[in-house]
C-alpha cells in the first residue's frame, strides 16, 4: 500500500536523503540505477538512470548487414531471445517480400513460446526472490534448465539462440523433438501449480504485492505499457490475438487479464500472476503447435547478399515483455539504413518514476521485479 504522510507546518523537520540504488546490486534485473529521494523509508521520487548496458546495437545493424544482424537481436532481450529474432526476421521479410514456409512458421512459434515460458519462469522466480522467498527461484530455474536443454537440442545454444533466419529458421526440429516437448509440458504444469501453491497466495506475499503501484488503464496506455503489464491493468490486448502474425491465427488460446483480486486492478500482484497465467496459455499453444505442425521446408530461398528494395516498415511482435515494435528502413543496399526497436521494458522503466511517489523503498524492488524489466531491453 502506498503510505500517505501529512507533514504539518512547524512539525518535526526531517531532511530528505538522496540514496543511490547503484548499478551494482543483488537484484537480478541487470545493470539499473535509481536515484532515490527518500524521507526515511518513504520515497518522494525514484529517478531511473539507464544506459549502463547501451551497446549501440542499432548502429551496429548499419554495419553488419541484414543476415549478420540476427545474432545481435538475441542480445536485445537475452532472456527471451526468440521473439527478437522473429521481429527482425519479419522486418526483413516484409521489406524483401519473402514468404516463410508453413513449417518454418510453426518452428518459429514453437521456439518463441518455449522462450516465452523460459522468460516468465525467470520473472516469477526473480520476483519471489526479490520479495524474500528464495525457494521458488530455484524451482523455477530448474524447470527453465529443462527448456534450455530442449532448445539446446534444437539450435545448439542455451541463451542467445540465433535460431531464426531471414526466410525461416536455421534448422529443422530434431527427430523425437515433438514428443519431448509434449512430455516436458506434461511435466511442467504440475510444477507451476506447485510454485503457485508455495508462493502466490501466501499472506505475506499478497500483502507485499497487493495494492502496490496500481496502474490505471489510461495511465498504462499513455505510458505505452505493453504485454503482461498492460493486460494486468484490465485491458485485453494481445498482439497474437488482435493482429495475428505468423501462424498464431491457427491456435486457440485465451488472453488472461488482471482482475484486482488482491487490491486494485493493475497492482503488482496482478502483474505477477499474469506471468503464471500466460505460462499456461503458452503451454496450450505449444501443445497445438507440436500436434499440427505440417511437413515441408523450414526456410525460403533468400539470396546470400540480401538487398530488399528501398522502403520502411513497422513490425510488431508479441515478445515475453510485451509487443516489441521494430522500425526498419532499407535503402536498397545490403546494409539496413536504420533499425529501431522499442521494447516493453523501456516503457515500464519510464513509468516507475511516476509510480514511485509515496511508495516505500522495499516496494521499489517489488515494482521493478513485477514490471519484469531487464536492462538489455531498456538500453539496447
Amino acid at each position: 500500500m502506498s503510505v500517505e504522510i501529512e507533514f504539518e507546518q512547524g512539525g518535526l523537520a526531517t531532511e530528505e536523503m538522496t540514496l543511490n540504488m547503484g548499478p551494482q546490486h543483488p537484484s537480478t534485473h541487470g545493470v539499473l540505477r535509481f536515484i532515490v529521494k527518500a524521507d526515511g523509508e518513504v520515497m518522494r521520487k525514484a529517478t531511473p538512470d539507464v544506459g549502463y548496458l547501451h551497446r549501440s546495437i542499432e548502429k551496429i545493424a548499419e554495419k553488419v548487414g541484414w543476415h549478420g544482424f540476427m545474432p545481435y537481436t538475441d542480445r536485445v532481450d537475452y532472456v527471451a531471445a526468440m521473439a527478437c529474432n522473429q521481429g527482425w526476421a519479419m522486418c526483413a521479410e516484409t521489406l524483401g517480400g519473402i514468404e516463410v514456409p508453413r513449417r518454418g512458421e510453426y518452428c518459429r512459434i514453437i521456439a518463441a513460446e518455449l522462450s516465452r515460458i523460459c522468460s516468465h519462469l525467470l520473472a516469477i522466480g526473480a520476483t519471489g526472490m526479490d520479495i524474500g522467498a528464495v525457494t521458488p527461484f530455484t524451482h523455477a530455474l530448474r524447470e527453465r534448465e529443462m527448456i534450455n536443454d530442449l532448445i539446446e537440442e534444437l539450435c545448439g545454444a542455451r541463451l542467445t539462440y540465433n535460431y531464426m533466419r531471414i526466410g525461416g529458421v536455421a534448422w529443422d526440429l530434431p527427430p523425437g523433438f515433438r514428443k519431448k516437448v509434449a512430455r516436458y509440458l506434461d511435466h511442467l504444469e504440475p510444477c507451476i501449480h506447485e510454485i503457485n501453491d508455495l508462493l502466490s497466495y501466501g499472506k505475506i506475499y499478497t500483502e507485499r504485492l497487493g495494492g502496490v503501484a496500481v496502474v490505471s488503464p489510461a495511465m498504462a496506455m499513455s505510458y505505452g505499457l505493453v504485454g503482461p503489464n498492460l493486460r494486468a491493468s484490465g485491458l485485453k490486448h494481445d498482439l497474437r490475438k488482435d493482429r495475428p502474425y505468423s501462424v498464431y491465427g491457427d491456435f486457440e488460446f485465451d488472453v488472461p487479464v488482471g482482475h484486482g483480486e488482491m487490491g486494485g486492478v493493475g497492482d503488482c500482484w496482478d502483474r505477477y500472476m499474469m506471468r503464471i497465467w500466460e505460462i499456461f496459455e503458452s503451454v496450450k499453444i505449444l501443445r497445438q503447435a507440436v500436434d499440427k505442425i505440417p511437413e515441408g521446408p523450414v526456410i525460403a530461398k533468400v539470396a546470400r547478399t540480401f538487398k530488399p528494395p528501398a522502403g520502411d516498415v513497422h513490425v510488431r511482435v508479441e515478445a515475453a515483455r510485451g509487443d516489441m515494435s521494430w522500425y526498419c528502413v532499407s535503402d536498397g543496399s545490403e546494409y539496413p539504413y536504420r533499425v529501431h526497436v522499442r521494447t516493453g521494458s523501456f516503457a515500464a522503466m519510464s513509468i516507475i518514476e511516476e509510480l514511485s511517489k509515496g511508495l516505500m523503498i522495499a516496494d521499489l524492488v517489488a515494482v521493478i521485479a513485477t514490471f519484469d524489466i531487464v536492462a538489455p531491453e531498456v538500453d539496447r
Partner: protein, 171 residues
C-alpha cells in the same frame, strides 16, 4: 478508419500543415509540419473516431542526402484497432520538433532517446537530457557523419588490433 479517411479529417482541421497520404512499398504515412505536430497528435489522441491512445514507436532517422532528420511516429488505437504512421522532417542543421510528451507520456523517454542519439531538439519537453549515453558525451552517434572522439575521459576508443604478431622485420 483507414489512413485516407484520417488524412481527410486532419486536412479538414489543419489544412496545409498535413501532407497527403504517401505510400512506400509496404506502409503509408502522413507527413506533418514539425511545429504543429503536437496539435495534430492531440487531435488524433482525443478525437472519438481516431482515438489513438498509444504511441507505439518514435524513431529518428538521419537523411543527410535530403538534408533533414526524420522523426517517425507509429500510433495505434486499441479501441478501433487501426494504426497510423506520421513523419516529421526537421532541418538537419538545427532540428526542432514540438514535443508530444503532453499527449502521450511514452513520448517523454522516446524523445529523449532521439535527442540523445540524433540531436533533435524537442521544443517544450519537460526534461530533455541524454538518456542512454553519459551526460558528458559529445556528439550524436546515430548521425551518418558521426565520428567518435578518440578518447573518453582518458579511455581510448580506438580498438587496437586483437591480433598481435611480432614478426621479425625483413630487410
Amino acid at each position: 478508419m483507414d489512413t485516407q479517411a484520417i488524412q481527410r479529417k486532419l486536412e479538414a482541421a489543419f489544412g496545409g500543415v498535413v501532407g497527403p497520404v504517401a505510400s512506400g512499398r509496404v506502409e503509408s504515412w502522413i507527413e506533418v509540419d514539425p511545429d504543429r505536430i503536437d496539435e495534430v497528435a492531440a487531435m488524433l489522441a482525443g478525437d472519438a473516431d481516431t482515438r489513438f491512445e498509444c504511441l507505439s514507436n518514435l524513431s529518428g532517422v538521419d537523411y543527410p542526402a535530403h538534408g533533414h532528420i526524420q522523426v517517425v511516429y507509429n500510433l495505434i488505437s486499441y479501441t478501433h484497432g487501426h494504426e497510423l504512421t506520421l513523419k516529421v522532417n526537421a532541418d538537419r542543421d538545427s532540428p526542432e520538433v514540438k514535443t508530444l510528451s503532453g499527449v502521450w507520456a511514452a513520448a517523454n523517454w522516446l524523445e529523449r532517446e532521439v535527442f540523445d542519439l540524433l540531436g533533435v531538439n524537442f521544443v517544450g519537453h519537460p526534461d530533455l537530457r541524454r538518456i542512454l549515453l553519459p551526460d558528458d558525451w559529445v556528439g550524436n552517434p546515430l548521425r551518418k557523419d558521426y565520428v567518435e572522439a578518440p578518447d573518453y575521459h582518458g579511455i581510448s576508443t580506438i580498438r587496437e588490433s586483437m591480433l598481435r604478431i611480432d614478426l621479425p622485420v625483413k630487410d
